[in-house]
């Protein structure tokens, strides 16, 4: 919402010496943040009206032309100009030599690419006027050459604020509403205009009829009639203000309609009475009703709109739609040059349906923005009079009275507010009188109870957002100033901290960073086909309204994202590409009645140039660091994984993830050379197993004995299983068992391989005798032979 300081002053006497910057801060403190502030009419001395006499190509530059202008003395003055939007005969603003522009630049006579330039032609932005920076400002033909621009345009020193208005401030969608807030904060009087409108002998009710068929959605519908209007250009002051506030002047009727909306917040719609009367057999009239599904309407923007039964229509007396209530008028009953009699419609529509219609049709108008927030149904009488007053003589004669039909209007019964509650929520110690003094000026007129401890607060019709006690609490705080309320600290009886999972997530991150891995954070959205390209089933849950198709699938695995990240690094020839990620993946749940997808937290590691052993090593690091007992791997074939160099990661026999290398076909699809180690672990599954509980065993002080055992076992027998058998056989005498050599070749039968284990034996309470060591050795050999069909070699 844009407001002009001069316009605000029409409602409240803001002192002349007010610093515009300070005033902006006050508006911000009232909840209307200043997005931009322009000091109008400043720094424009020396800018005059000039006429374009001739346009010539610049001999040495393509992006400039030479413009000869006349500043009133008939002498051509040569200017080099970078814009091409003007034609011979156009009036344009010329900054003469010596002018200091609003941005501080001084205009000098200078050669530009070898041609003299005696000043600068200005774009709207350069002279702080509405318009874009792309071209020179073309001025109205009526101006006099050589006149100072500010005099010619009637630009007065003024301040233009662009305010950010929150959805709970319908009142601040008007200049008067902003002024009311400012007046209250600054302790200044506030007054609305009191137009007096003389009327003729004709009665509005005889000229126009109104029928509300949907009183739930149309709370009030009024119509006034003006006879003998003169359609023409607006008063320059009105046109100028509209332009400054971002609306294009069209003609006096439409402009006044917009002006009243900006000033008082009430949208209106002017109709050509003759056009309205001509279209229906039963004469000029309005019927307000719900649309029928599939009905259509050509709106003012020349678009044929297909309607649904939630839209509210304004129809003519024959029930033919002429406008979309609260959103946009129809094209057929527009004011034209030929219009003599005008019907001015002002209405109040229920907020939510207007919002729905505007959203569904993608039609956000200045009017719908106001109806959505809630217009002031009580201000319609004033707005109608103001409309006529602003038209002046052009209004012709106003018919007597106003057709005024009512539907259901919002309940504005004053509410009880507990002063104690106000102070309890704000941490303040306001007396009831202080609260009243804060609330009264913004229309929340407060009656104090006789007991001094209760208040009845009126709910202004321009604040339909407010209808409960807590709304009033907010107004008290807002008018007093949030910053002035002070700062205290709550006294908590609780202690803070991280949950076990949160601590463990940090442990995991540190373990992985300790292995030299960098944490990546790829976008969790995938393109259709990404999962398949990564060798995974294409069953990701899709986003129904993605901005781009490339971001329309939720990931079921961290693999596609990390492959893309590796691909990026490979293509930039980065080295040591070793990444990890902790993130959520989403799958369709097995339970079809589940409220939400199966969302899991997963950790994944990807190492370009790494082989499966590195992935297994990272898995072991995680298990050791998190103290997960009974974790192992079991060779397996899985989608996306290398067919002969992959395994499932298990805890207590349950699969918690995959480990190994990425399928070479997948790597080829992603154009990644070499091997890529991959580990992906479902943290929800992993951490559901007992972990993080180290069991202490005393370190033995006695000497240990080492034996090496080479077994020949069939391919397919898991080396881990053999080690487990050794562990069991050695029982409490085992120090460790480590596979330190595998051998295939001469001396070993086909289909078998030799596995050599180093076994350290040790007791915690004695030195083992040779006989004991021998016994254990025999036990181990027999156990491995029995369990795995192994034979001892050598």
């Amino acid at each position: 919402m844009k407001v002009l300081l001069s316009w605000l002053r029409e409602f409240t006497p803001i002192p002349d010496d007010t610093d515009p910057e300070e005033l902006g801060l006050v508006m911000g403190d009232l909840g209307m943040a200043v997005e931009s502030m322009d000091l109008l009419g400043e720094g424009l001395d020396g800018i005059i009206v000039a006429e374009v006499l001739e346009l010539k190509a610049h001999p040495n530059a393509d992006r400039m032309q030479i413009v000869d202008v006349d500043t009133g003395d008939g002498e051509p003055l040569q200017i080099c100009c970078g814009a091409f939007n003007m034609a011979v005969g156009d009036l344009v603003p010329l900054a003469t030599v010596g002018t200091v522009m609003p941005n501080g630049m001084e205009i000098k006579r200078a050669k530009k690419r070898g041609e003299w330039s005696n000043g600068m032609l200005c774009s709207p932005v350069e002279v702080n006027l509405p318009g874009d920076a792309g071209g020179i400002l073309i001025l109205p033909d009526s101006l006099t050459l050589g006149d100072a621009l500010i005099d010619a345009l009637g630009v007065e020193a003024d301040v233009l604020y662009d305010l950010e208005i929150n959805p709970n401030r319908p009142d601040a969608m008007s200049v008067a509403g902003v002024a009311r807030d400012l007046a209250a904060r600054l302790g200044l009087p506030f007054s609305l205009p009191t137009p007096s409108v003389p009327t003729g002998s004709a009665k509005a009710a005889d000229l126009i009829s109104v029928e509300i068929l949907d009183p739930e959605r149309c709370g009030r519908f009024t119509a006034r009639v003006l006879q003998g209007v003169t359609v023409g250009p607006s008063d320059p002051k009105i046109a100028n203000r509209l332009t400054l506030l971002g609306m294009r002047p069209i003609n006096n009727i439409v402009d006044v309609s917009n002006y009243v909306m900006l000033e008082l917040g009430q949208p209106s719609h002017p109709y050509d009475l003759a056009a309205l009367a001509a279209r229906s057999s039963s004469g000029a009239g309005f019927r307000v009703r719900r649309a029928i599904e599939g009905e259509s309407l050509l709106t003012l923007d020349d678009v044929e709109r297909t309607l649904s039964d939630v839209d509210l229509l304004i129809c003519d007396a024959d029930d033919v739609p002429i406008g979309l209530a609260g959103v946009m008028g129809g094209a057929d009953t527009e004011i034209s040059e030929a219009t003599t009699d005008v019907v001015v419609e002002m209405a109040w529509f229920e907020r939510m349906p207007v919002a729905k219609t505007a959203r569904r049709l993608g039609l956000r108008s200045e009017a719908s923005a106001r109806f959505e927030r809630g217009c002031d149904h009580a201000a319609i009488d004033l707005a109608q009079d103001r409309f006529i007053e602003l038209l002046g003589a052009a209004a012709g004669t106003a018919a007597e009275g106003m057709v005024d039909e009512r539907g259901r209007l919002p309940d504005r019964t004053p509410i009880e507010v507990r002063p104690g509650r106000v102070n309890a929520l704000l941490g303040s110690e306001f007396s009831v009188q202080e609260m009243k003094d804060l609330l009264d000026p913004i229309g929340f007129t407060t009656e104090l109870g006789a007991d001094g401890e209760s208040m009845t607060v009126a709910l202004p019709t321009y604040r339909l957002d407010s209808d409960t006690e807590v709304d009033v609490v907010e107004e008290v705080a807002r008018m007093y100033g949030y910053a002035r309320l002070g700062k205290t600290m709550p006294v908590s009886t609780l202690s803070g901290g991280l949950t076990r999972r949160q601590q463990e997530r940090r442990v995991i991150r540190n373990l992985l960073a300790g292995r030299g891995l960098c944490e990546a954070a790829p976008m969790p959205f995938l393109a259709p086909g990404d999962l398949e390209r990564a060798g995974l089933p294409g069953d990701g849950i899709t986003i129904t309204n993605p901005l781009v198709a490339e971001e329309s699938v939720l990931r079921t695995s961290l693999l596609p994202g990390l492959l893309k990240s590796v691909r990026h690094n490979v293509s930039h020839r980065n080295d040591d590409i070793a990444l990890f990620e902790i993130g959520h993946v989403f799958r369709r749940p097995s339970d079809p009645s589940a409220e939400l997808p199966d969302e899991r937290e997963v950790v994944a590691v990807i190492i370009a140039g790494g082989d499966a052993t590195e992935a297994v090593a990272v898995w072991r690091t995680l298990c050791e660091g998190l103290v997960v007992p009974n974790a192992d791997v079991a060779n397996a074939e899985m989608p996306a994984m290398h067919p002969t160099r992959s395994a499932v990661a298990r805890v207590e026999g349950e699969v918690v993830g995959s480990v190994g290398e990425v399928d070479p076909d997948v790597l080829e699809a992603y154009d990644i050379p070499g091997r890529v180690a991959w580990l992906e672990i479902d943290l929800d599954r992993l951490l559901a197993h007992p972990h993080g509980d180290p069991t202490y065993t005393r370190v033995s002080r006695f000497p240990s004995s080492d034996i090496d055992l080479a077994f020949e076992v069939a391919e397919g027998i898991s080396a881990t299983d053999v080690a487990a058998t050794i562990e069991t056989a050695a029982a409490d005498l085992l120090g460790y068992v480590r596979l330190f050599d595998t051998y295939r070749g001469s001396g070993v039968a086909d289909g078998r391989r030799s596995l050599t284990y180093a076994v350290r034996l040790q007791a915690t309470d004695r030195t083992l005798t040779d006989a004991e060591v021998g016994d254990v050795r025999t036990r181990i050999i027999e156990a491995v032979a029995g369990a795995h069909g192994a034979t001892l070699r050598g």
Partner: protein, 332 residues
């Protein structure tokens, strides 16, 4: 005899001192002091002498042997030292030529920011809560006082997912649904922060990402006031940014809080950063979560993490955070 001894001893000494290596020294020792060495041979002749002479010559022999042993030990020490020196020289390593990388891993910039924020709030007595990224309309909007059709829903460019009833399952647009889950699961008092990933229908550019992170705080207790909110924000500001920073609240609007505010961080030079939104939890939200607004009150606040992390680290383009170039990741 004595002269003979002196001659043998002198010869032995020459032999020992002349040994050029430990091996040669071993040979020389063997030839002189060894069982069959020259001095031992000489000693064997002593039996033939008269007792008096035997005694004096014997003493002289023993002295000579002791002296030679000392010479040999010295020589051995010198030789082995020289040999070690030669070995060390052969083993010399120029450590400036070492190419092995001492590559440390790095946590993502956003992770580091989240951990730092969590630690600050844990220090202020908060716990950390989490929730799902795919949410129902109820948790993301309805329970937070955005009834269906509420215009304020438009402030969030929501992404919906193809799951369940159309338009009811979405990617959470803020971390606020976690507030609702916490309030449903836990009776007051509640002092929690909720960091997490959030989603909006947006195009990635230098200042926006469709996927980003927020952290949100929630306090529900007896007698919580707006000044408590202002005080908590201020305490956080000083803990995270430094004691010379301060904060201020400005009126704003969110359906789930009332009064609502924006909060700014004011730098020591007076300039400010608009950080986030906050307010007193709306009584409707408390009711929706089964908490009696007459008994308990509370506040909530939230802000984006990426902008904070980028500002602190001097990163000027959000997209760097999701590209995962190791040259970027290794800088933090």
């Amino acid at each position: 005899m004595i002269d003979e001894l002196h001659r043998i001893a002198a010869e032995a000494r020459t032999q020992i001192e002349g040994a050029a290596s430990v091996d040669a020294l071993d040979d020389a020792e063997r030839a002189t002091l060894g069982k069959k060495g020259s001095l031992k041979a000489f000693k064997k002749q002593l039996g033939r002498l008269e007792p008096d002479e035997r005694k004096s010559v014997g003493q002289a022999v023993n002295e000579a042997i002791t002296a030679l042993e000392a010479v040999a030990a010295d020589r051995r020490h010198d030789l082995s030292k020289a040999e070690r020196a030669a070995q060390y020289e052969a083993d010399r390593l120029d450590l400036t030529e070492v190419t092995t990388r001492g590559r440390a891993g790095h946590l993502h910039l956003v992770t580091q920011a989240i951990m730092e924020l969590e630690d600050v709030f844990v220090g202020l007595g908060f716990t950390v809560a989490e929730g799902p990224e795919v949410e129902t309309d109820f948790y993301n909007f309805e329970a937070l006082n955005f009834p269906e059709g509420h215009p304020a829903r438009d402030m969030y460019d929501t992404l919906y997912v193809d799951f369940g009833e159309p338009g009811r399952t979405l990617l959470r647009t803020h971390t606020s649904p976690v507030q609702v889950r916490v309030m449903q699961e836990q009776a007051p008092p509640i002092y929690s922060v909720m960091p997490g990933r959030t989603f909006r229908q947006d195009t990635a550019d230098a200042t926006h990402l469709p996927v980003f992170h927020q952290i949100e705080g929630l306090v529900i207790d007896r007698g919580i006031t707006l000044t408590d909110l202002a005080g908590t924000i201020d305490r956080f500001t000083k803990a995270y940014f430094g004691g010379e920073f301060s904060s201020r609240l400005r009126p704003s609007y969110f359906p789930f809080t009332e009064p609502s505010a924006e909060f700014d961080i004011i730098r020591p030079d007076g300039s400010f950063l608009e950080l986030g939104g906050c307010g007193m939890v709306h009584p409707n939200v408390l009711r929706n979560c089964g908490i009696d607004p007459e008994e308990f009150s509370g506040f909530a606040f939230g802000f984006g993490i990426e902008r904070l992390a980028n500002t602190k680290a001097g990163v000027d383009d959000m997209r760097e955070l999701i590209t995962n170039d190791v040259r970027f990741l290794r800088q933090f």
